[in-house]
Symmetry: C2
Amino acid sequence: MPTISDVARITGLSKSTISRVINNHPYISSDKREKVLKAMEEIGYYPNPSARRLRGHTTNTIGVIVPRIVNPFFSYLVNSIEQEAFKNNYQVIIFQSNDLKDKELYFLNLLKNRQVDGIIMTSIENDWETIEPFMQYGPILLCNEYVNQSSVSKVRLDQNKGAYMGTEHLINKGHQKIAYCTGGLFAGYGRDLDRNTGYQKAMDKHHLTPNPSWIFIERHSIEDGKSVVKEILSMNDKPTAIFSGSDEVAAGIIIEAKENGLRIPDDLAVVGFDDQPLAEIVEPKLTTIKQPIDEMGIKSVELLIKMMNNKDSLAEEVQLPIQLIEREST
Amino acid sequence: MPTISDVARITGLSKSTISRVINNHPYISSDKREKVLKAMEEIGYYPNPSARRLRGHTTNTIGVIVPRIVNPFFSYLVNSIEQEAFKNNYQVIIFQSNDLKDKELYFLNLLKNRQVDGIIMTSIENDWETIEPFMQYGPILLCNEYVNQSSVSKVRLDQNKGAYMGTEHLINKGHQKIAYCTGGLFAGYGRDLDRNTGYQKAMDKHHLTPNPSWIFIERHSIEDGKSVVKEILSMNDKPTAIFSGSDEVAAGIIIEAKENGLRIPDDLAVVGFDDQPLAEIVEPKLTTIKQPIDEMGIKSVELLIKMMNNKDSLAEEVQLPIQLIEREST
DNA sequence: AATGAATATGAAACTGATTTCATAACGAGC
DNA sequence: GCTCGTTATGAAATCAGTTTCATATTCATT
């Protein structure tokens, strides 16, 4: 690979001049500039990024932490982030935390090591006290998941309202016995907690008290959804509707319910969360809460770039609207 | 951020010695080693990757090109690659080519610029003549998609056999009028071509000649699948079965067919390709060809690392088995 | 006791860029 | 004709490591 010295030698100029041409500095005579550009082209010269980084302290790379990329919600989010980053000349390094504290920490260290200029976290595994110190090494932005900390920038959705809308939708359809499925009730972080309170609020407002055994926690997959139905079938006091924090779980519920002769939505109404592609594939099609994933990704990259360019910009919080998509499962 | 010089100053040793400790060189007295490790720990020193790269020419990063991450096939593949890379201490940079030649070239340049040590290509947009020169800058491995070039390593599936199995399965079920859906008939590359010949071979063997209007090309999405059914409905000579090169297209076909009163598999039998999660969600559940995605990812990383460590290892080709999963759509 | 190999360490060169400092040439203003 | 600001360029320092070369000990061998 040719280096800047090669270009200097060929053109008979100094490295400084070549560097100035590359970086569009002023005060270069146009004939020399031409000459340099021509030589670079000729020998196929391209500046070595490691050397630039070493000097310039910037990597043009942003890191994205997702719990798992195979979850469509996150693959769509990553898609949007990658597209927007590319537009702005940034590369994206993707990490899956797999819900593991250690892996998350490992990735946060990339910020410390200056392998990335900034990080977008779409989930949080460690305590905030553990994560916060990394902010001194570069900007961290929370997208989707969040903590109640004014010092960190976040792009988030009104999950509370989403859950409220979903639950109230079921109530408006005449349901009173409404079960609730969530990922982590005790996760301690914002997103799921918000949904919980949203559900709670809607129930309270309509003076409904759910049977405690209708609250299902730690449900993530299609299989988990199926297990929910099995549990419900063995109950004496059965719910007539379920609000699920995940489309996948909702799909599992629908599949298993049908398998057991339940009619949807007549015997059991189901609302999901995310509006994943599968929402239109299950039968009946799933009523769900749509999250503006693309906007979330775009906004996150936008904000992060702003933070990276302006070291001491204040933390910002962006909240995006959320929406109920009514289909056939309610 | 502390540097190696800080550690040297604190311990009263030279940078060389510190470097030797970091890199586990022999011939260091154990008391000095302890001292250095302690000092590093104390001031929270971590070697700057850019400086190491500049000298060492290795980035511990591999690049992965996928057409689009939101396609479950690729998000599962990326998942597997990322997991295996992490195990081997490699980071993964992910790029979406979005089927664009330019974007693919941009990413290949990362190899030239030494931003990545090697690249796994899961799709190919440019002519091989355009891509090949990049191999001089570092190893390139083809995974999933491939070209008929002995000089490049590949991890691939017997697509030909997959398509053959799927088609023959339909024939065994008594079908004679079998339509065929593919991504790109004229793409010119291995994967789709192999599937085409697999279909062809099965038909030929059983002395069947498909109506040319039953061959649908450039179909990728659920929507595309729906359009296929619409076209079929307007035909005089209708196929009784479809072999689709994609589960998503197959799902679209099933949804739209049911919408129009067709019974599956009685009026129309459908076979997909990939065994994506949605194959178990559509109703009836989709008979499909299962590809061993995880093994593919693992094998690819394994092979790539081998190539990166051994500069002049010969190109290898790994072919993984493929399998028919019979469900309810046939 | 002399020689040579193995062990242990440091100084300085090197990786490939950017940036600072110095300086030369040129034109404008007095 | 002299000073000053602008334009244009190069030498050398710098970034943070790794590697080469040199050298000083220590220990075993004859």
